[in-house]
């Protein structure tokens, strides 16, 4: 297929972001890699927000594609905005962290984050297995580097090695699964695959199923669902905390976007064959994630298991299929809620673990006395993660729940609600440390919060609480959307 007449302007936001990333890289070289560079951090935020504005303003809600390789539609636009705003928040979290660690070369760090974002954007825009894989690898490889960014730090290196070996294996699984489909159809276009999948499955049921299973395993790794979740706690614990935030929020949401894309465009025709599998994976993920989280003492590991459980909730609307638009709306709403509450929580976690020098949950002891603002905000994020009103998490979970019931998956809804109650225990355990325990030291000093952390926490807090009281602002818009039309 020759694409000389392709409408390259659709890629403008990606091109702009790539240009910014290269610019930052260049500036970094010219100014020497070491030292504090708050300017570059701010420039990255500008880059991300400019790109987000372009995504909305330039491409808008149109549906257009470059030969079904790269597609711009409301689905990709919405996910890109979530990702870009999310990464901007991650950079806000990082600005405090990188200044405290001289081994975090700042320019390099920010440009890697931007490249990872670029990969995520390509992923959500891909309608072809090749572009999808390129995007996935740009994101993954940048993320491996980021995880091991503190190279003199044992745990960080360990986490990067684990991540690269296991992540590479997962990519291989995905690629292997794709190869079956390509061999059978001779095409990598998801739309073409979707058109043939019904007859293909009748002719070669085992091959198609094999391909599906490999892809479920590979993507399951990327979104960290049980039983492909083992890497998450170790990597999350060892990686620099802002990178953990990136992995937990951005990388997971981008992977969810392609899961929807691949399974609902490519394999919708044989939904009956895999819908049930996804439902089981979702149920097991919710149960295992929540139960293991009960026993965690390291806050980053706890957030890893909490993130696994949350991925289980996010999988429920994928398994409980009513209409494609409905699934996308539900996933997108909960993804926004999840990104906001997770990043808000990580902003607090980064600050507190750095201040106290400990990643134990006990480091939150008496946080209320040292910083009421952070303690209250953190409680709001945790309450939202637990799914209590009036927060974005409550509305999002209710919506997922409604969809599961509509699709007739009662048992999955029951698992979800019971596991939500179980999650109260560990989320409220942190709240109890912050509010109900006295700090260790005799003289309590108030913490002074850096502007960057305070801004991230405030933005996340406003969205988390705002979507609890005024969810219709987004929901009524989402339900009127035609997410993917081609």
């Amino acid at each position: 297929m020759l694409l000389f007449d392709a409408n390259w302007s659709l890629m403008t936001p990606e091109i702009v972001l790539a240009a910014f990333a290269l610019l930052i890289f260049t500036i970094d070289f010219m100014t020497g890699v070491k030292g504090k560079k708050p300017f570059i951090g701010r420039l990255s935020i500008v880059a991300l927000l400019t790109t987000a504005a372009l995504v909305v303003g330039w491409n808008g809600a149109q549906t257009a594609s470059i030969g079904h390789m790269f597609v711009v539609d409301p689905f990709s636009t919405a996910f890109k905005v979530v990702i870009l705003v999310g990464v901007a928040l991650v950079i806000g979290i990082s600005m405090y962290y990188v200044d405290r660690h001289p081994d975090m070369y700042q320019g390099e760090f920010y440009s890697l984050l931007l490249f990872a974002t670029l990969g995520a954007m390509l992923m959500v825009s891909s309608l072809d297995l090749i572009t999808l894989f390129i995007g996935l690898e740009i994101l993954s490889i940048s993320a491996y580097c980021l995880a091991g960014f503190r190279k003199y730090h044992k745990k960080s290196t360990e986490s990067a090695v684990k991540y690269v070996v296991l992540g590479g294996t997962a990519s291989a699984f995905i690629l292997y699964g794709m190869s079956f489909i390509y061999g059978l159809t001779g095409t990598t276009s998801l739309v073409d695959i979707g058109g043939q999948i019904g007859t293909l499955f009748e002719a070669y049921p085992y091959l198609v199923m094999m391909s599906l299973l490999f892809m479920i395993a590979g993507f399951g790794f990327k979104i960290s669902v049980v039983p492909f979740h083992m890497w998450a706690p170790d990597v999350y614990e060892g990686a620099p905390t802002p990178v953990t935030a990136f992995l937990a929020a951005i990388s997971k949401v981008a992977a969810f976007a392609i899961v929807i894309r691949v399974f609902f465009i490519g394999f919708e025709g044989i939904y009956e064959e895999w819908g049930f599998l996804i439902a089981i994976v979702a149920a097991v993920t919710m149960v295992v994630g929540n139960l293991i989280a009960l026993n965690q003492h390291n806050i980053k590991r706890l957030m890893a298991y909490s993130g696994i459980a949350q991925a289980g909730y996010l999988l429920v609307p994928v398994a409980a299929f009513v209409t494609l638009d409905m699934t996308v709306s539900v996933v997108l709403f909960y993804a926004i809620a999840y990104v906001m509450m997770t990043l808000g929580a990580f902003a607090v976690i980064t600050f507190v673990t750095e201040k106290t020098g400990s990643e134990d949950i006990l480091s939150f002891r008496g946080l209320y006395h040292r910083s009421p603002f952070l303690a209250i905000a953190m409680s709001a994020f945790l309450i939202s993660l637990a799914g209590l009103p009036a927060t974005a998490g409550f509305t999002g979970k209710a919506w997922i729940f409604f969809q599961a019931i509509s699709a007739g998956l009662l048992w999955l809804a029951v698992v979800m609600i019971v596991m939500s109650v179980v999650s109260f225990f560990y989320y409220f355990g942190i709240i109890s440390q912050m509010f109900m325990k006295e700090p260790d030291e005799d003289v309590v000093t108030r913490m002074s919060i850096p502007v960057s952390t305070a801004s991230v926490v405030s933005v996340s807090l406003v969205v988390t609480i705002g979507l609890g009281f005024l969810p219709f602002l987004l929901i009524n818009l989402f339900t009127s959307m035609n997410w993917m039309a081609f």
């Binding site: 009103p389 809804a413 609600i417 409220f428 219709f472």
Partner: protein, 510 residues
Amino acid sequence: MIPNILSLLVFLPLAGAIVLLLIPRENKNVIRSMAVGTSLLALVLSVAVWSAFDRTVSGMQMGESYPWIDFGIVQIDYALGIDGLSLPLLLLTTIISTVAIVASFTIRERVKEYYVWTLVLITGMLGVFAALDLFLFFLFFELTLIPMFFIIGIWGGKKRSYASFKFLLYTGLGSAVMFMAFIALAFKGADAMNLASATFNMVGLAEAFSNPSNSEAISSTFKAGLFLALLVGFAVKLPIFPLHTWLPDAYAEAPIPATMILAGVLSKLGAYGILRVGYGILPDQAVSFATLIAILGVINIIYGASLALVQTDLRKLIAYASISHMGIILLGAASFTQAGVQGAIFQMVSHGLITALLFFMAGALYVRTKTYTLSELGGLAKSVPVLTGFMLAAALASLGLPGMSGFVSELLAFMGIFGASPDVIPQATVIAVIGALGIILTAAYLLWAVQRTAFGQMDDKYRGLHDARPLEYVPMIGLLGASILIGVFPHLLSDVINSTVIEFVSRIGG
């Protein structure tokens, strides 16, 4: 009449909480007076609602309804409204909250935070009583959970952490069961009504479920299962034996003003839920389970009373007494007679007032003696005659002395159960007699408790204790006064609830 007065009433405390957040924490007196002012304003508003309430209408009034969230598959309205069942509870909430906030002068630490949580809690409770949409109902119901967790966990007694988590998990599980039942109601109702999207509107659902033409779409087994699920969900909050075990811990560990709210209002959320959702939407199932509910009520009465008899701790004694008295609500409601249902509503109000007063008295004595242990108390009538006098009055009100609200409500509830139709409860008399035995036990443990506290030998260390302070008169006189007022002029209350009750009973008996 002020437009949207219900919304105003419900969100006023929340607005007060937000304003409080802006006041620097050092200004404790400003914060206290702001909180008292907010609760007083809510009380005034609820009195305005009371006086504007049309007593001849049996259905919902002062309704407000706006489309709120359109989930695509589910349509949720922001719908508020009141009838004769919810109005007394709204007023009860504002009364108890006001006296509890006044009684909170004993809270000395983290004052601002405390009042913020209390005000949020009040919004949650008022919202539950005013909500007409089940989703909104659930939202407010859960909203009461978070402030209570903080209040018990931060300002509670020695075992506060344990008590707060127990409270959180028990009521959380109860809510989970309740939410599943709500969703089943909504989806099945939409199915029967052939709606494109499910609705949580209580009035609409009540019609869908009681309409005989829908009996094919909704089987009676399904309805029975739903009713049981609702019963279990609400039973935790009420609490009904054997789902009550969180209660003694929570009541004993929470700070006194919070216990007043817990026992006075939060327990009514469960009873209200059973009446509003269970009886309101599934009246036929309520009738078929009437015997079960009556037996549960009797078990509550006897179990609570027997355990109250053997308590050595004054607060735990009152906590078990509270469980016992909640049984009377179930008993009255199960009878499906006009008197019985009236008695149930009377008992909700009366129990709220009196239990709150009892807990307040226990707290007032604790402030002076530093103990709740009955064996260490005694003879306090000599040093604090006013306090012990009020305590005796509260105990008498609780055991049903004529002229006080407890008498009216117990009389009505027992009249109801004695007069229950044999079609509803086969052996109603037996149940009623056993229940009445519980009332004798009530007299025994309450008077014994007062005797062990107020009379007998006084320990020397209690000599010269300070008797009631001016601020303490507010809750004491307010609560006791309200109880006597209802006892002497029961028509003040029955006026408001009558038309709703009549309609309620006729629909069920129909």
